[in-house]
């Protein structure tokens, strides 16, 4: 491909004498076929395994964090009341994972693991970079929606509810100077609750799943 492209470019530039055109044309054609025979022109882009593992870890933290916050923060508890018991949420990084599976059980969000499952609400990151940017709080959820980096399957009001919850969870997970940059406005969590909640999330919530 690239050989051909160079050739047309050179032909178009018109700086070479015609006879040379013909020669370079033939030469380039030979080269193309040669290259094709030696190695198939197929290129497999990098698998990005490390980034996928990192995303899986980040999804794990988000899942565990959500689980803890959903039993602790009164505003989040109130939001979650709007979901039916058994309401399932799946985060998916396209294509092929990683995934994060959550479900509402006994008025709390349960972290069910990093495997794929059917869900009432599916939040799909269109590619691994999009997931990485959002999960590391380099980009806010609304911005990612606006830039078409995320797509949703499920009812919009439920998705809106999830976005509101995520704002809280992320504020417990990330310090204000990071969260503040990507959120339209920081959630109104009183300072004391934020500090103790954050300590609990870091010490017990994420590592132990409490």
């Amino acid at each position: 491909m690239s050989v051909k492209y160079n050739l047309t470019q050179r032909l178009n530039s018109g700086r070479m004498p015609v006879s040379l055109h013909v020669r370079s044309n033939r030469f380039n054609n030979e080269k193309t076929t040669m290259v094709l025979k030696q190695s198939p022109s197929e290129i497999k882009p990098p698998a990005k395994r490390i980034k996928k593992i990192m995303c899986a870890v980040l999804l794990f933290c988000l899942g565990r964090g959500f689980q803890t916050v959903s039993g602790m923060d009164p505003d989040v508890i109130k939001e979650i009341e709007g979901w039916n018991e058994g309401f399932g949420i799946l985060f998916e990084v396209a294509p092929g994972g990683p995934y994060l599976q959550l479900r509402k059980e006994k008025n709390r969000i349960r972290f069910l693991g990093l495997s794929k499952a059917d869900a009432d609400l599916v939040i799909q990151f269109k590619n691994i970079e999009a997931a990485f940017m959002v999960l590391t709080a380099q980009m806010g959820t609304p911005q990612a929606f606006a830039e078409h980096r995320i797509s949703v399957r499920g009812n919009l009001p439920e998705a809106m509810r999830l976005i509101r919850c995520l704002n809280y969870v992320q504020y417990y997970l990330f310090p204000a100077f990071i969260a503040g940059k990507v959120m339209k406005r920081l959630p109104p969590i009183p300072a004391g609750r934020l500090l103790s909640g954050r300590a609990y999330v870091y010490l017990f919530g994420v590592p132990l799943g409490l």
Partner: protein, 393 residues
């Protein structure tokens, strides 16, 4: 400022101006269709517009397979099932929607039901849920407002649950949009007024929401400029073809802008008002726009300030101190509203639209579930939305 990233997509072929309708047979042939169903409503039929369209298709090989004219205001999940059944029975292969936003969105809904071969529209609510190629659809808007002829959005009222279902998918974009001067001459002054304010709202929101970008900005800007120059004329002299076409093009451009940069708070609350209290969409837009602009001022003042130029014209823009321009833009929109109120009786408060005070909390709760809220630059919670509603009441 250039956004770090944006997408822009508008593949709709636009036919705009004199005898545009007569090109529909040719376009349908290109799309391999020969048996369209016309979707419309009673008001449009009474205005004689379906007859004009039928006549314009004359001399071609087309057969109009069926005409569905029972579209209600704001469309409805129930009539869509009915219209889809008619489409199937009459063995149609394409859609021509002749009407306002309600009709265009009904046709989009019918297309979903037919193309996805489903009976349950609810399954497809939300963003990017559609997967099957759609039947060719030609949109002939008869109001200058929604811009639905170039948007990837369909808004359809759910009659049982009293909320507006939102569908977005690139597949919902019509194939061709036809703006013909004959189509909007008969719109009554009041409807002309509030549909124009809907278009203006699309442009203002597109220019200030999260995914604004240079392309959507250009469309939004041009739309506002045309609204300023022609809206009052179209309201006072409905038969003025130039003013009518200017507004039709403005609505289309504003649609194109917001289909790409999305709308925000005004539409989130407006959809909720429409869903809960069944108020015409454009009216809620006109009333809510200035209040929501004030609410967004902290984040959007620079954009609103720039918009004073197309909103009020160069003299006024230059006369106004730069730091006062954003506030002046809001005032100009309020002046437009009062002018339309005097000329055409367009209501200025939610109360005058027949909204009940008791339903405000319900409206606020519904608005919290509207997807447009995501794209608004400023965060807003239940109490804040209720606050805006009370001010607009």
């Amino acid at each position: 400022m250039l956004p770090a990233y944006f997408q822009f997509y508008n593949p709709v072929k636009i036919l705009s101006g004199k005898k545009a309708l007569e090109n529909i047979p040719f376009e349908l042939e290109l799309l391999n269709a020969s048996r369209p169903m016309i979707v419309t409503d009673k008001g449009v039929v009474q205005a004689g517009l379906v007859d004009i369209v039928t006549a314009a298709l004359g001399g071609s090989n087309l057969t109009i397979g069926a005409v569905y004219d029972k579209t209600p205001p704001d469309s409805s999940n129930i009539v869509i099932g009915e219209a889809a059944a008619l489409f199937r029975d009459a063995k149609c292969d394409s859609l021509i929607a002749v009407g306002g936003g309600s009709v265009l969105d009904t046709a989009k809904g019918v297309n979903i039901v037919i193309s996805e071969d489903t009976t349950d529209l609810m399954k497809f609510i939300g963003a990017d849920r559609l997967t099957k190629p759609m039947r060719p659809m030609i949109a002939v808007p008869t109001t200058a407002g929604t811009g639905s002829e170039v948007t990837l959005v369909a808004v359809i009222a759910n009659e049982e649950k009293c909320f507006k279902m939102l569908f977005t998918s690139y597949l919902l974009l019509p194939r061709v949009a036809v703006l013909d001067p004959r189509m909007t001459l008969t719109v009554p002054p009041r409807i002309t007024a509030f549909t124009a304010m809907d278009a203006l709202t699309h442009a203002v929101e597109a220019y200030s929401c999260l995914q604004k970008n240079p392309l959507s900005d250009a469309y939004a800007w041009a739309a506002i400029d045309l609204v300023r120059k022609h809206m009052i004329m179209a309201v006072t002299d409905g038969k003025n073809e130039e003013a009518r076409m200017a507004l039709a093009n403005a609505a289309l451009m504003a649609g194109c802008a917001f289909s790409n940069s999305m709308v925000g708070l005004v539409h989130a609350i407006g959809h909720a008002v429409g869903g809960v209290s069944r108020v015409a969409h454009g009216m809620t837009m006109a009333i809510l726009l200035p209040w929501c602009m004030e609410y967004n001022m902290g984040k959007c003042a620079p954009y609103y300030g720039e918009l004073l130029l197309p909103l009020a014209g160069p003299d006024e823009f230059l006369k106004t101190d730069p730091e006062k321009r954003a506030g002046r833009s809001v005032a100009v929109i309020r002046e437009m509203n009062s002018h339309l109120n005097r000329l055409a009786g367009m209501p200025l408060t939610l109360k005058d639209c027949g909204v009940k005070r008791e339903s405000l909390p319900d409206i606020a709760r519904t608005a919290l579930g509207d997807g447009a809220l995501v794209f608004n630059p400023e965060e807003s919670d239940y109490n804040e939305i209720l606050g805006i509603l009370r001010k607009a009441y």
